[in-house]
């Protein structure tokens, strides 16, 4: 992509915090890095997971679909009910009912203008994460009729991830927007080894067969929100 050399320069300029040219992209880079890692963190520790304010974006260009980014940045919704670290927002109950999320502890993402969203999405798409995601990992075979059963029952994905809008909050990001949001190669690579992306993340390595991972990814790619929030 033509933007590739640009993003490095912009990120560096933002990190140096002393660049004179305050273009839109430069400002965006400075804003984003207040909460998101745009380069691979030197140390991935458990404490960092608890302290970071937003998900890592240093592999955003291998994770997200650009059109989704452009739309979401203009109209951000909560993808993780409990925010970037669910455990910080969880409230216990005193009557043995399920824990809930204290929404006041979940910060909303800033809304960007259409122009800024397009610029930011372009910059993010250039952050490929240095070979973290394997191109062609998703084989794009028909997921088959068992895929939704794998997701909901057999492999337990729905314990943490919602496949439909509404319902109780869960600890993993919603996946009914997964088809629009995520690149299938990323989904395959991530399910196989989430700790490759963050050594301490609470999505476990499930040890699924490649056939299961392909089916689940094909299924997630078909998921669409059926109602607007």
């Amino acid at each position: 992509m033509r933007l590739t050399p640009l993003i490095g320069a912009l990120a560096l300029a933002a990190l140096a915090a002393g660049s004179g040219a305050a273009g839109a992209a430069d400002l965006l880079s400075q804003q984003c890095i207040a909460c998101h890692a745009v380069t691979k963190p030197d140390k991935q520790t458990l404490d960092r997971l608890w302290e970071r304010k937003g998900p890592d974006l240093y592999y955003a260009g291998s994770k997200f679909n650009q059109a989704w980014l452009v739309a979401w940045l203009q109209n951000p919704t909560t993808l993780r009910a409990g925010g970037v670290m669910y455990a910080k927002a969880v409230k216990g109950s005193s009557d043995k009912s399920a824990d809930t999320i204290d929404a006041s502890k979940v910060e909303a993402h800033p809304k960007l203008s259409a122009a800024d969203a397009a610029t930011a999405a372009g910059l993010l798409m250039a952050l490929k994460g240095d070979g973290l995601v394997t191109p062609g990992a998703y084989k794009n075979e028909p997921p088959g009729s068992m895929a939704s059963m794998l997701f909901s029952k057999l492999r337990g994905c729905t314990s943490c991830h919602a496949a439909k809008p509404g319902g109780a909050p869960q600890s993993g990001p919603e996946l009914y927007t997964g088809g629009e949001r995520l690149q299938p190669d990323y989904v395959v690579t991530y399910i196989k080894d989430p700790q490759k992306f963050d050594a301490h993340t609470w999505m476990p390595t499930l040890g699924l067969t490649d056939a299961d991972v392909q089916k689940l990814t094909g299924y997630i790619a078909t998921l669409k929100p059926t109602e607007k929030k």
Binding site: D99, R155, S159, G207
Partner: protein, 126 residues
């Protein structure tokens, strides 16, 4: 100069082991690292109150284990708890909704969690 330092280290290590042994025997105080591990990985299903009522539990077909249940936890040997955490529920003939955590935590951390579970459930090592 080297010898006294080495001796001192040995002494400190021995004292550390002694303290750990004391901790395990009495378990009257929770190990802060184990609490952090529990709060990161276990709370999503087992809950802030450690009683199986995590945020995910509302949609789960099998209710997560209540770690405050002294009877049930007392009947479960350390080895089984360790195996369930490391290899997942299916490895101990329980629900597959309990995933395996061996890719996230090492054996020492899993052992810390087993000790912490004894503290939470007010049961002794088995």
């Amino acid at each position: 100069m080297r010898l006294p330092v080495k001796n001192l280290l040995h002494l400190l290590v021995a004292a550390g082991i002694g303290l750990c042994a004391l901790d395990a025997a009495h378990a009257d105080e929770a190990n802060p690292h184990a609490v952090k591990l529990y709060n990161t990985y276990c709370v999503q299903c087992h809950g802030i109150n450690r009683d199986g009522n995590g945020i995910n539990s509302a949609v789960m077909a099998v209710k997560p284990r209540d770690h405050t249940d002294t009877k049930a936890m007392g009947d479960t040997p350390d080895e089984t708890l360790f195996k369930a955490i490391k290899e997942g529920g299916l490895a101990v003939n329980k629900s597959g909704l309990m995933p395996k955590w061996e890719g996230v935590m090492n054996d020492d951390e899993i052992k810390e969690l087993v000790t912490y579970l004894r503290f939470v459930s007010k049961t002794g090592a088995k």
